[in-house]
Symmetry: C2
Subunit: 394 residues, 2 copies
């Protein structure tokens, strides 16, 4: 997994830093979506004479009680699902949740069920245990249920999935698939990663898998995409039997998550109209998604693409005579970048696919970027690697 | 290790929450020492229009470059020791440093050299690997060097030590002992935990062990005692060969530490007169230490005590006919609490010792608390368990 990084991810990042480059490679939220003013006001309150001494002191391992109550209440509002705040554990982003769950549930070399393709960065939180991946392909409805049944047979300790607006494909499990996956869990703990669920641009909210099988699901959430990543806060909703072991692992890992950020969030969420704030973010990202869909359909008719109803990513598959790596070379020469599909496959695969983020690029630039992509595909096909960008020496 | 917690630590914490209780049990800094106003100003800057978008975005795994430069510069100022900022890794308090070092260096069941007694909370960061403890007793100069040589023979992968103002004993290694320990490391990595080094009340600063053997030492530092624990930030100075593996472990654990807190610290340390701030903290804690020493010497002449030159703790050893647990029962009945010594010994030991914190109690209350302690010792000895506190039903 680590072997992927040095070679081409660093090369992509280096290209991204050049002026004039259009990057569809990012996984970051757009900084215009951060409620900066409201966060600054919340910070002033959290550090006020009345509260500052408490904010700056050590706090409990599980996380601030008011913050956990807000998180639980949000599930009630969205899904009518009653979550006990005592089953919410605040963590340093979803990444830490995987680290802790892995420590509690995995022995070295354990089998772990994953989607193919999936977000390998998250799986690095489990990599320490050198797991054996059992991968399940996507299919109509979200997941190949036959493969899932095979992979879950024998009760491997863990399954990791992103059922809503997946990274990298953008696809979601439909309601029947969610029920089916919940039913397939015999003793396997499903880690349901849901960083994008609040970023829906079309259709209706789908109830997570967790309330369908609460005793075997750890539901992960995050403020990174709805508020700001720099606060580095996420959470887990855990089954009662996993609460104490996960708290012991959390305490051993860092005693507790950042108290300042937790108190900033408590004040922010008390003052901010969170739904109005989400409406603004959704409108921005939706415009990006629609611009990208229109540009691809116009300029790249041979490319198959996913039809995400939310999230940050669109997944496109090139015609059979091309590979994503070959096109990437030509794309970088034309100052446009994306992440090739094999970066999302620990066992190899998705060589013809590319992940495109539509969240950090303006709609006008999206059209331009897709046009450059079309040129890159053309050049790859014709074997013509000379290009305006490379002749100017950039 | 975990078995200690439920029983008596929780009982102590419950007693501490009662009004009128004098607690020598805490390990927290006094909240009056937090530079709250300056932190609030720094937060306003970090979240300003010019910087807020950056502060709130994802950042690099190793930590903010300006913060790492400050940390490196501080070692230059204090010890004339040139630390490369590229060998500084920002972490979520020292606790996370141990978690990461353990992941990189320990196989299951590995031998780990520790001081006896020591701070078991820190060792919980290693507990996941189920290490076998090789303990080394304290002695004149700080450590029994014969025992240390035995424990280090064969090159166990890790040694954990707090050479300056140790928790729980308050004692420090002298210069010769530091040199000797540095020389004894053959292939063992020493994790030198130094959360209290800036809190010196008497004598001269002692150069850490790390610059004496930089290729085999990970030096841990923290802002928890000098600024505020709620920012949850510490650091490691690491040998070049450990940098990359530790960064991979850090990225897998939580991508990066809290960016808001890092930027708050950068602004705070640019504006605050850090040395003047430390002078204020030192004056407060020194008054507490001196009050406690005077009270013990006056009221408890039979008790042997350590003579710390800094830090937060004093270690007292009761006469041979008493145990700390028995005295604790009587002490709790008289509304004074401490942590019994066996809480600091994974292999058993220190049953007659007690750890007393002098940092969160006012000097006048310290005298009162030590007087209650004298009563508790008296009552334990006479087997008289009736007391004013217990007869009022508290």
């Amino acid at each position: 997994m680590d072997q992927i990084r040095p070679s081409f991810i660093r090369e992509i990042l280096a290209v991204t830093a050049r002026p004039g480059v259009i990057s569809f490679a990012g996984g970051l939220p757009h900084p215009d979506t951060f409620p900066r003013d409201a966060i600054a006001t919340a910070a002033t309150r959290a550090l006020s004479e009345a509260e500052g001494r408490r904010t700056l002191q050590y706090t409990e391992t599980q996380g601030d009680g008011e913050l956990r109550a807000w998180i639980a209440g949000r599930y009630r509002t969205r899904f009518g699902w009653d979550v006990d705040p005592d089953l919410v554990i605040v963590v340093n982003g979803s990444q830490q949740a995987l680290d802790l769950v892995g420590k509690v549930l995995l022995d070295p070399g354990a089998d772990v069920v994953i989607e193919e393709p999936t977000y390998l960065g998250a799986l690095q939180g489990l990599a320490f245990h050198e797991p054996v991946w059992r991968s399940v392909a996507a299919a109509t409805g979200g997941l190949d249920l036959g493969e899932a049944a095979d992979a879950l047979r024998g009760g491997p300790p863990l399954m990791y999935a992103i059922p809503t607006f997946q990274n990298p494909t953008g696809r979601s499990y439909d309601d029947a698939t969610r029920d089916a996956v919940a039913g397939l869990l015999e003793s396997t703990v499903l880690v349901e990663d849901d960083p994008y669920g609040e970023l829906r641009y079309r259709g209706d909210d789908l109830r997570p898998i967790a309330p369908r099988r609460p005793e075997l699901t750890v539901l992960m959430g995050s403020f990174s995409k709805t508020v700001a990543p720099g606060l580095r806060l996420g959470w887990m909703v855990v089954p009662p039997w996993l609460r104490e072991p996960l708290l012991i692992a959390k305490q051993a890992a860092d005693l507790h998550s950042n108290h300042l950020s937790q108190r900033v969030l408590v004040h922010l969420l008390a003052e901010l109209d969170f739904d109005a704030h989400l409406t603004t973010i959704r409108a921005r990202y939706r415009a990006g998604l629609e611009a990208m869909e229109a540009a691809i359909d116009a300029a790249l008719p041979e490319v198959e693409r996913s039809r995400p109803d939310g999230g940050m990513f669109l997944w496109a598959t090139l015609p059979a005579d091309l590979t994503a790596r070959a096109v990437l070379e030509e794309a970088m020469a034309r100052d446009v970048v994306f992440v090739p599909g094999d970066a999302f496959s620990p066992i190899g695969g998705s060589e013809r696919s590319i992940r495109l983020s539509f969240c950090t690029v303006d709609p006008a630039a999206i059209e331009d970027g897709v046009a450059r992509l079309a040129e890159a595909i053309e050049a790859t096909r014709s074997g013509n690697s000379s290009s305006p960008a490379s002749t100017t020496g950039r």
